[in-house]
């Protein structure tokens, strides 16, 4: 219940922030601009529109996380708004879960708005068959953004906004190449192989949430993929938030 209150407040804070409105407007403009590049696509204009449109969902979501999420907790500590919350019967883990849920909800709204716009655009172009694939890709992008939000909350609870942004960006980039890292590790001698394999296991496997190429071709993914991705995101977010809670539990607020 209290987590919902914190989530509601965080959501309200995010959607009333002009930064978010600006990013959504930018995203919508970006999707419209993909049509301008279609002349250069040599018959692949639909694929280009869908691919760029879905990429803009992920990248704008990432931008929201870097601009808002990485200072989510730090800002509350610096501005001392947290004093009036944690001096109440509010467990600190509940507070963190609420912050994560609130920003994730805002990202769901942003990603859904952009995904729906893309689906409407593609349908208007005479390809309604692409809409289910776009919906699936948007859902996976939302999962990916929620996972990244949990990392931003972890770093924000422990570090400064700038460092949190750098760490989150680092995990986002490294998470794209987890499979490559695993393949690379397999070719190395043992102590290094084990270390790199362990690192690859710890990093979020963000490739799991990427079906942009499939959606660009109008192909849907399997229910198993969607289920696995959902389960992976839930478990990974749970672990990260548990880690953040453990670190946050003993933190002093001077």
């Amino acid at each position: 219940m209290n987590a919902l209150l914190i989530a509601h407040n965080t959501f309200r804070e995010a959607v009333r922030d002009r930064v978010l409105a600006g990013l959504v407007a930018g995203g919508l403009a970006l999707i419209a601009l993909t049509r301008l590049g279609s002349a250069l696509a040599m018959g692949e204009d639909l694929r280009l529109t869908v691919d760029l449109g879905l990429s803009s969902v992920s990248l704008l979501g990432l931008l929201v996380i870097l601009l808002v999420g990485t200072s989510l907790v730090t800002k509350e500590i610096e501005r001392r708004t947290i004093f009036n919350l944690l001096s109440r019967p509010l467990p600190r883990p509940v507070y963190l879960v609420g912050k994560w849920a609130g920003l994730s909800a805002a990202l769901v709204v942003v990603a859904s708005a952009l995904g729906a716009t893309l689906a409407i655009l593609v349908t208007a172009l005479g390809h309604p068959g692409h809409a289910p694939a776009i919906a699936q890709a948007t859902y996976l992008a939302i999962l990916e953004l929620s996972l990244l939000t949990s990392l931003a909350v972890l770093f924000s609870a422990l570090s400064t906004p700038v460092l949190s942004a750098l760490y989150t960006l680092g995990f986002f980039l490294a998470g794209q190449w987890v499979d490559d890292l695993r393949r690379f590790a397999a070719a190395l001698p043992d102590p290094l192989r084990a270390t790199l394999a362990f690192t690859a296991d710890m990093l979020p496997n963000l490739a799991l949430f990427n079906m942009r190429s499939l959606a660009a071709g109008g192909e849907s993914t399997s229910a198993l993929h969607l289920g696995l991705a959902t389960g992976y995101a839930v478990v990974y977010c749970g672990c990260v938030l548990a880690l953040a809670s453990a670190a946050f539990e003993s933190r002093d607020f001077k």
Binding site: N9, E13, S87, K254
Partner: protein
């Protein structure tokens, strides 16, 4: 002291080992203190140099239900550290504390607590009712109850006309009033107020004083820190003086001020004659105040002698006022005394 005593019901879920030793021995028989602090200490460690600075050392005290307790000390003495430990924002390095018999390490100990931090800050994007409703619900009120309490308390602190105004547009005094409303919105049994008069004009200070006294009438226990000592003297039943992280003194306000040296102030027209009789020498000090002269008599027993001498010299006496030592003077004396004993250089001097 208090007009009414609050309920001392202790939740059954409080395990015996969570209660202080003295409570266990008389469980159910004695009144549970609103706050009990035993040997509380807090050290701050610098993150880079790892150097440890003591913030609070071995502080123990108890708050009786329904009293107003002043917590005094200069900047950096450890007042805010104590209040933040009690409200769960800082973890003590040593010692323990209980709120209505419940260990402060349990988050539920904060359910009966209303806390006003020093210079409170709020969310820019919310308005007063939205903020108060949120914090009321966090303290356990239901949705409808929280909404009603939010509207009531916003009006009670004089912000009812600004209900639609975003908090980023509030003045410092308005933020302080909202902080008080946030501390009171869930009808707490214990109020911890860190500098509640800070940033308020004289009208605001009077309103806050009235509000605190009203809470005491309801049986609420109040612990407040303040630099405005006349307010503390007016409001508090007991005060504690904390200096350099240590509790130096704790006493009833009446005991403290009555224990000071009494004196009498006489206001006379013009300046007194310079030929003081030997019997008054050293007992009277002269200070000018505009056209009047102000005499301070440090030995009240010599008042008749002084008055007789002034009448004999045809000096017009305009007022005779018995003065008592103010809390401010006692506080300054305690601070200077502690500094004297703590500084070897001054001690040897």
């Amino acid at each position: 002291m208090s007009a009414a005593s609050p309920s001392t019901h202790q939740p059954s879920s409080v395990r015996s080992q969570d209660r202080p030793a003295s409570d266990r021995s008389v469980a159910g028989a004695a009144e549970v203190p609103a706050v009990r602090v035993e040997a509380l200490s807090k050290n701050y460690r610098h993150p880079w140099t790892m150097r440890v600075t003591p913030g609070l050392t071995d502080v123990s005290f108890e708050l009786r239900p329904g009293e107003i307790f002043g917590y005094l000390g200069p900047n950096g003495a450890g007042k805010t550290t104590t209040l933040k430990i009690l409200s769960g924002l800082l973890q003590p390095t040593g010692g323990r504390a209980w709120i209505f018999g419940r260990d402060i390490r349990h988050v539920e100990s904060r359910r009966p607590l209303g806390f006003l931090p020093e210079q409170p800050y709020f969310y820019d994007h919310l308005n007063g009712p939205e903020y108060l409703e949120m914090v009321a619900r966090l303290s356990g009120l239901g949705g409808r109850e929280a909404r009603a309490a939010a509207v009531h308390w916003l009006g009670r602190v004089g912000l009812g006309e600004h209900a639609r105004l975003d908090l980023r547009k509030y003045s410092k005094g308005m933020l302080q009033r909202l902080g008080l409303a946030a501390a009171l919105v869930h009808a707490p049994r214990l109020l911890i107020l860190d500098e509640p008069m800070s940033g308020l004009d004289p009208f605001g200070r009077r309103d806050v004083r009235d509000l605190i006294l009203e809470q005491r009438e309801r049986g609420v226990t109040v612990m407040l820190s303040s630099h405005i000592l006349p307010d503390v003297e007016t409001l508090c039943d007991r005060v504690a003086v904390v200096l350099k992280g240590r509790l130096e003194r704790i006493a009833l306000v009446g005991e403290l001020v009555q224990g000071g040296t009494p004196r009498i102030e006489l206001r006379i027209a013009g300046q007194p004659p310079p030929d003081w009789p030997p019997s008054l020498a050293g007992a009277v000090r002269l200070a000018a105040s505009g056209v009047d002269g102000v005499l301070t008599l440090h030995e009240p027993a010599k008042l008749q002698l002084l008055l007789a001498w002034l009448v004999e010299r045809r000096v017009e006496v305009r007022s005779v006022t018995p003065m008592r030592t103010s809390l401010e003077e006692l506080f300054m004396a305690a601070a200077e005394d502690a500094a004297f004993h703590a500084t070897p250089l001054r001690r040897s001097a």
